[in-house]
């Protein structure tokens, strides 16, 4: 695990990267809201939304499958909605042999729509983080008057994720370095012992990350960090290309809703 793997920001210089971060944040949020509010089975609108994502990925020099692949991570979470297939009233497609569960067409359509909506929304969020650096993103949130506390929580989580992966890497490497074998002995230890070592490593990970996070915080305090301090923020003006892109985004959002509803 390399720390940079965590950082989704793709250092490229495209027109999308150069857009005002505030605009990108707002458009992403509205796009997600629009996505979620599209009716079930609005296949045309879903397809159009995906087309928009693909074009933006292309313009951002990310490659066509960049967001689609990464957004697959949402699939296991959509399983929580699987019961809807059976509970939605509608025409029965199939009756399960046990209990009296009926698989309905409306239920199936809603379930598939939920999966597509989540997948599309996550892709949009991935697009945002891939084209906006973390610092810019936080600055944009500040300019959009998101409360300082929330921004700080997000920044801390982000910073400590690195602490956590870093400690994990170190522990795993330390163990790997001494996973030796002798030619004439059966090594590796018993399953129980290996499990105990792994368990202890998880404990170590918690302890070490906790204490290291503490030291990071002390270092921040030592350099004058004060959580009460609200930093003065200078928010630049939007440039004309930002306004144009914003207008295009609004038009696309309207189009999506029209395609989805009529």
């Amino acid at each position: 695990m390399h720390p940079t793997l965590l950082d989704r920001y793709q250092l490229k210089n495209s027109s999308i990267h150069r857009l005002d971060p505030r605009l990108k944040v707002v458009v992403t949020i509205f796009f997600i809201i629009s996505n979620v509010s599209l009716p079930d089975g609005a296949w045309g609108a879903f397809l159009l939304a995906w087309g928009v994502i693909l074009s933006v990925s292309f313009m951002a020099l990310l490659g066509i499958s960049y967001t689609a692949k990464r957004a697959m991570i949402v699939l296991p979470f959509t399983l929580t909605a699987v019961t809807i297939i059976f509970t939605m009233p509608g025409n029965s497609l199939l009756t399960l042999p046990f209990g009296s569960y009926e698989l309905t067409d409306a239920g199936l359509m809603r379930f598939v729509s939920i999966i597509i909506r989540s997948w599309l929304s996550l892709q949009m969020a991935i697009l945002l983080t891939a084209t906006t650096s973390f610092v810019d993103l936080m600055h944009a949130l500040r300019c959009l008057y998101v409360p300082q506390t929330i921004i700080e929580i997000v920044s801390f989580m982000y910073r400590y994720l690195f602490v956590l992966t870093d400690e994990t890497t170190r522990l795993l490497r330390a163990r790997e370095s001494r996973m030796a074998a002798l030619p004439d002995r059966k090594g590796g230890g018993s399953l129980m012992w290996r499990a105990r070592v792994a368990g202890h490593m998880v404990g170590q990970l918690f302890l070490r990350s906790y204490e290291r996070a503490d030291r990071v915080y002390n270092a921040m305090l030592a350099r004058g960090y004060n959580s009460q301090l609200s930093h003065p923020v200078a928010c630049p003006f939007m440039r004309s290309q930002d306004w144009t892109s914003g207008a295009v985004a609004v038009a696309i959002l309207f189009l999506l809703q029209i395609v989805g509803r009529f």
Binding site: A180, K186, G187, H200
Partner: protein, 241 residues
């Protein structure tokens, strides 16, 4: 040859070239010091010796190439101690950490116990067996780190700045230990006095390259060479102090 490195090149994932065309051979029982300024590539080179980093070129231990299938056997031969003791220790107690290597190699519990006790007493830390390794001082951790590989009975000892952060007595214990252990050694260090005392051969690295490789006695007299690579002759250090 116990250790044979041939035209080794390595770059870190961010593109930084850390090793350039390194070739060196170390015979059985030789004790070699690796010196050079910060960032010279010493630690990077040492991490290649038990396959934690793999570059282009050839690294052979006792004639075996360091490849994935050979790694377990090679790690039993090469005891590597990281520069930062927090990179070395991963168990809750000192005892468990020192016992990990022997147990993983398949030694019985009584054999392991003997190895652990011997290793801890070699670094003068016998009474620390039940302490939590994470809450030790840096010097204590360094000594435990060395014990974690001594307990595995390696043939080649690869140490990354073992004497840094030790108090004078612990440093003296370490120097005596290294002098008396009949193992092949490659030790990276900034401790020029220790080099002169313990290591008949010295390799100077800078900017990822081997600059000089020869008898410590003669290289130590080449003050221009030493100064060009951020080093000092230990005699000068002494007279200043």
């Amino acid at each position: 040859m116990t250790l044979n490195i041939n035209k080794l090149n390595f770059s870190y994932p961010d593109g930084h070239v850390a090793l350039k065309n390194i070739s060196l051979r170390i015979g059985r029982g030789e004790k070699v010091a690796l010196v050079g300024p910060n960032g010279a590539g010493k630690s990077t080179l040492l991490l290649h010796l038990n396959g934690l980093l793999v570059g282009q070129g050839e690294v052979k231990i006792n004639g075996f190439a360091v490849t994935k299938s050979n790694l377990p056997l090679i790690r039993a031969k090469v005891g590597l101690v990281f520069q930062n003791p927090d990179d070395q220790l991963f168990s809750p107690t000192v005892f468990e950490d020192v016992a990990f290597g022997p147990l993983h190699m398949g030694l019985s519990e009584s054999e392991t116990l003997t190895c652990v006790q011997r290793a801890l007493s070699q670094v003068d830390m016998s009474h620390y067996a039940d302490r939590m390794s994470y809450h030790l001082s840096i010097g204590e951790k360094k000594r435990i780190s060395i014990a974690t590989v001594l307990s595995m009975n390696p043939e080649i000892l690869v140490l990354d700045e073992p004497s840094a952060g030790l108090d004078p007595r612990a440093r003296r214990t370490l120097i005596t230990l290294l002098r008396n252990l009949p193992l092949t050694m490659l030790v990276s260090t900034h401790d020029m006095l220790m080099v002169r005392e313990n290591f008949p051969r010295m390799i100077i690295m800078d900017e990822g390259q081997v600059i000089a490789d020869g008898a410590t006695e003669s290289l130590m007299n080449d003050i221009a060479l030493l100064e060009a690579h951020g080093l000092e002759r230990p005699f000068d250090v002494e007279s200043k102090a």
